[in-house]
Symmetry: C4
Subunit: 280 residues, 4 copies
């Protein structure tokens, strides 16, 4: 296992060229948030926006529009029941994040199917939360594009068939190879499995053990994936910064709330973007 290093993150979060436009930083579509779990997609979209995504659109239940805009006017919204409009929008996206607060009912299952059928390279796909539970319950072939799944250990158990006690790096890596997508297995020290390698994240604190932390990570991964060319490096950098921010906040807090992490992403990205990689 190889640790994610400060150097890797510093090399990934490059300074933005002066002549650049929001279109250069990723059109990110986040899909989720049913009538019970609207907060999840709000937190994911917040993280994507504060990660510097150029344009963020949220496909969700209309019930969540008012609260989303009250917290995040920077995002656009659409009713995720409008399949035709969703497909039209989806075609123009660089990154799709599906799962936070999506739920696991029939509609959610159908929506996931629609999205998996429509997404195509070079789009990048982040599958999180309820979407992973759905995938485990209704296995289906995944489309041929860069995909990352971000399960916590119980979701990984459902997806990989590995009981939590059997989730060793070697077993996880084998399961990841079978799936054929990058896997971020969230735990105290999160491990990341790519076709080539196993990474682990040095950071993490039990102050992060609260609802919404995973939704925030999924949004960050989506935001980073829209900006940085190397998909693996983008994912690893998002994982690293997510816990680096939490670790710093936990120095003075017993529990760290997800939105507090998002608020600090722009500052941390700045600090890493100007650091000397060889110093790091």
């Amino acid at each position: 296992m190889q640790p994610i290093t400060t150097k890797l993150v510093t090399q990934t979060i490059v300074e933005r060229p002066a002549e650049s436009y929001k279109g250069n930083y990723g059109r990110v579509l986040l899909i989720g948030g049913n009538q019970n779990f609207g907060g999840a997609i709000i937190m994911a979209a917040t993280a994507a926006t504060y990660s510097g995504a150029g344009l963020v659109t949220v496909a969700t239940d209309p019930q969540n529009f008012a609260s989303l805009h009250a917290r995040l006017p920077e995002a656009m919204v659409m009713d995720y029941h409008q399949t035709d409009y969703l497909l039209e929008l989806l075609a123009g996206m660089d990154v799709i994040v599906i799962g936070p607060g999506l739920g696991t009912d029939t509609f959610a299952e159908q929506l996931l199917g629609t999205v998996l059928n429509a997404a195509c390279a070079p789009q990048r796909l982040v599958i999180d939360g309820s979407a992973l539970t759905l995938l485990a319950a209704h296995p289906r072939p995944l489309p041929d594009l860069p995909i990352v799944v971000t399960p916590h250990q119980m979701e990984w158990q459902r997806l990989s068939g590995l009981k939590i006690s059997d989730q060793t790096p070697t077993a996880n890596h084998k399961a990841q190879q079978a799936l054929g997508v990058i896997a971020v297995v969230k735990a105290h020290h999160t491990t990341i499995y790519t076709n080539e390698k196993i990474w682990f994240n040095p950071g993490g604190t039990p102050a992060m053990a609260t609802g919404g932390m995973g939704d925030t990570l999924a949004g960050m991964v989506g935001g980073f994936a829209g900006q940085f060319t190397n998909f693996t490096a983008a994912i690893l950098s998002a994982v690293y910064l997510h816990s680096a921010i939490a670790d710093d906040l936990a120095a003075t807090r017993y529990v760290v709330l997800p939105h507090q992490i998002s608020a600090l992403i722009p500052k941390y990205m700045h600090d890493f973007s100007v650091a000397d990689p060889d110093e790091a």
Copy 2:
């Protein structure tokens, strides 16, 4: 009467073990918030979340979903009219808080009955606000599980039959013994009655004399009860910190608003968690 000490709080709020997950910190269900008193359940849920509850779900009138999520995306929501879904969720909860903003109409009375019938050990139950008024008006046997009631003096009068002028520690203790549940009687110096003992809270300030302060305490009690093994110590620690934060804020404020207390809970819990209990 025994004062709640810094040492007791410090011993209660233990440092979190590194290997731990949101499931370790309590699934807390808060029930309340009708069409007139939605703010009460928002404040209670905010306090529970900032107290470190692992997962917070709010059962309330759908009218309150947007404002709740606008303030607190970390919480999940459900329509408290959906009894079947409520019972399904309730079965998986560690702590139930019922009462903030619940109101006292027929629906509220029935909902309270449903919850009291369904809750069972080792779940913990916090009964606050309107639910206490309902209990006083429609006495019913309480289920056999750890329960705490958090009345202010007028609610305690209704519940115990003791006029405010007759609410001496001895009389209160007798009434608590008859009820068989822990009683937090809120006043300038709040007193707490358990089967074994009478405690009093050294803190408290008239700057707290504003609507929502009790809802915030109920949420904190719920949040602490989901994390700390000793139920009595959890309750006492929540009472203590609630007023300790208010006292500090009141050093520079004529009135302290409930949400300002919640915002500081993570910091105060941290400070108490790392303090040396013998120094305290």
Copy 3:
């Protein structure tokens, strides 16, 4: 004309007695906020709450419930179309503020009539904004209780019949005597007319020349009137602090937004409450 002095404010905002409860600090009902002007009642209720009102209830169009609670969970809400419930609540109130964002349609006119008929001593009444325009258009006898009107100069013209250019202190005082209520005539330096005296407010800045500033003052007047025995002193102190806060904010801001004033009320009230009146 007599200036409102720091000493008067310091003597009015007394330290709260330790043994006191939210019921001691005023039940304040704010009525206003139609489908177009909902922000006005939100700002007024915010000011009343941050002024230390014990319990704040807002009677408004239901459209405004979500945004009100998103900003101010501390307030309770009711649909101002429910006349019976409104009258029931109104009977238990200490202070009624009517007008911010009320509008001037037939419903507003009828609601104002209902409230003026129902209010009775020792309740205190603050009439502001649209309610003043309605009163001017449909003159009616005012009930016999402590009343303050808070017009800006154009509203005062409508109410008193005095053109702005004719609004001299003497003419204003004569008009106030005819009305028989305290009048706060808002201008660069606001003047306040009571049966006995003419006061002027030394503070005020053109940075306050923005929508919502008057709604905020009305809320502060309501909040202060619920706490401080001397009605005139409560009004004068609210006027004074409202502009004192704005003046301080304007030292570094070209425009001061109403909600920024409300956020600082608790701090300013504290500072005045602990100041030595003879030093002031």
Copy 4:
């Protein structure tokens, strides 16, 4: 090309006279925000309000009322489907901003037509976002009043017919002269075309490359146009400060969010208003 200078901004943002009222600082109507792009009009209205506009009204889809008020109680709202009421309000406005989040459907097209027909001198008009796309698709004569268009390069391509690669200052100026309105062409260094001159904005950072930045500028232009006599100087000052704030924020942030700029407008306007123009 002439740079916008600190001196120009300092001379434009004059200190407010003590005797002045909200009516002196502009009645600004912002029109936009459909069911998908509500955040855009929220951000524009926020910028206008924080720029010191005396009275801000937002004509938008009612779906956006709650989120708008949750963020900005200072603004008034109206349903933009109510044409008669819109026209009545519009007649009393000093500045009209149309476009942010308006969308490009038939309703939007008709609404734009209604507004262009109704607006008349000395009103000032800011045309932004979707409204520019509509104008390009359905060319129509513009009314004879002070107008500014604020396209980004792709919108300017649609409006002027100039491909982005052909958007040289000379070509842009020729296109602007044909249109007959002031044109703010947004880019890394924004250029501004008036009948007399070409200006360029020295500031700007790629940290601004995120959704909503243009909506915020449109709102600032509207706010400034309501306060400062010289229309061109008002526009140039808004463009200058918008990026000056962003540049300062970007010193510590990888991405700057639009609402963060708005929050700082009052401070920056203050600093420029008190600076010595000859020192600047």
